[in-house]
Amino acid sequence: MTFALGALVLSVSMGAISFFTTRHYLVIDREHTAIHEAALNRTYVVQHVAAGTTIDQTLTTVTPHSAPHSSSFLEEQGKHGVVWYERTFRVTPQTAIPASLRAMVIGRHTAASQTYVSQGDPRIAVGLPLPSIHGAYFEVFTIADLGHTLRVLALALFAAGVVTTVLGAALGRWASGRSLRPLTGVSRVAVAIAGGELDTRLVSAAGDPDLAALTSSFNRMVDQLQERIEREARFTSDVSHELRSPLTTLAASLEVLEAQAGSLSGPGRRALELLSADVRRFQRMVGDLLEISRSDSGSAEVSLEEVDPGELVRHAVAAAYRVLPADIPVPRVEVDPGVNGTHLWVDKRRFERVISNLLENASLYGGGATAVRVAPGGEPDGRAPSIRVSVEDAGPGLPPSERARIFERFYRGHAAFQRGAGTGTGLGLALVAEHVRLQGGKVWADEADGGGARFTIELPGQPADTDDEPAGQVGSA
């Protein structure tokens, strides 16, 4: 756009400059020629008049009939006033010669010329004083041909301007596309990398050394970044893997001990209880770490199945309360009739973890969940309706400043000082966010109607009985 505008301004100004310069020189040139010619003719007239030829005759011979481009006039301040000689007897001095030129030549006895337009024709009038007869010699040249030339020139320049503008616009588009393409590439790749696609690289730009340098240093930076991220993810994964073997031994041996707890002394039993509680927690923590490191390294696999949302949530809540402490009341599950007819494609294992982690979170920090609601969500892009599942508690709620951070790993908010804190893995809500993300949904925290905390997950739904099978379906049997 800028380029087109620039080309337009440039071509207009270049055109204008060319036109006016050319016209100026052409006119000046014609004026010089006219003055020169008029001076010659004046000399001729003066000689012939001095030799006794009549003025009329002289004028006739000065400008032959056939010469169309000029006419000569002579004005004499005779004894009887002003006498006007003119070959054709058709014009008066007033109409033939511009008044200002006459005043200059007759009044001041100065030679002068003037370019003007009369009856639509551009003309040059030259006036030369004739002191010998107290008069002046005038010659008027028509320069209509010059006007024609200038019109053609103007037309040519205009056409050139149009062509230049169009070409300029096209060139600008091309050049800006070409010069900005690497930057567009960089920004696209940066967005991809920020989105987790760490394998994305810039294509090296051959031919442009500046660009090649930028490209290679950008790629080197991403290489290092990727290596570092992968090393960290691998480390977490390796550590968790290594921890699993001793943990398996610990857990199995502990169960043997638990089976024989009856034969232990009081302190021994208490120690065993402490041990088993923390081994379980440790086991879950390692499981969570493995899960999260797989998600980080992009090796998590999601197997989606088509399910009824109400049924899914009821089963998930029931499953979660089989492992939650018995003194935590089971919340009511409310399924909005609006979700009927909509199915979810979820990874059931991950979904169950989401619900059990949210319920566990509510029992640790909110005195137990009070309600689990299943309701239709917004309809993103007018596609399939989405489903919202929210878990509410009647606890102290979450200050707004913690609502986003609560999903960070090992984040401990103000609730860290409450009863139950320290018994979670610190990864529960982070895993909720990961599981939901892997299933194409989102999760957020806000305030329940009663002031407690409310966690809501939204998953893309799909009308039941559709024949479109999304990718990633489990089993092709």
Partner: protein
Amino acid sequence: MSSRILVVEDDERIRSSMRLALEGEGYDVDEAANGEEALEQFAEHPADVALIDLMLPGMDGFECCRALRRQSAVPIIIVTARADTHDVVAGLEAGADDYVTKPFVTKELGARIRALLRRVRPVDEEPTILAFGDLELVPEEGVLRHKDGTEVHCTKTEFRLLCELASSPSKVLSREQLLDRVWGYDYFGDGRLVDVHIRRLRTKIEPDAALPRHILTVRGMGYKLVP
């Protein structure tokens, strides 16, 4: 007589602790540190259930599964590092009946073992022979054969799955129902267990497993058996 479990695990500590835990649950336990040893052990004392870690030195767990499956219909549980991986499906396709992920809880493992050792669910007022196509299923005897008498070899789990489908002909059974009745899982059992077992059954009883005539998939609902 108590059931015999073959534990194939290369980590000696895990093996010992599992022996203690499983013996505590009342099972007899055989141990093997690798695949070759496992096959020798099994040849000597056929176990009732084999527990095979997929990560074994030398012959890996998949190969061990396949080798064991070639000579026996014994229920096999594979021990895998993670549930969300193709390892599970690959292990099931190698012939395993079920899987547990490490670190597991012995109680959970015990539940899996008990489910696999269950007898075919006794169904009242059912004919003793379930027939479809040119096949006959005798739940009492645990036999699947063609009408001409040639036996079709299948694992206990495949047999139980087929019995469930055949005892409700033309009725759609959901994955959840099948997981519950055959494996003893609740709603959150892994549907891949059903899918892989159905696939295995099809290669055994369908003339063309790619175009099944008897065991049909009802999309979004489950499976049904058409006589």
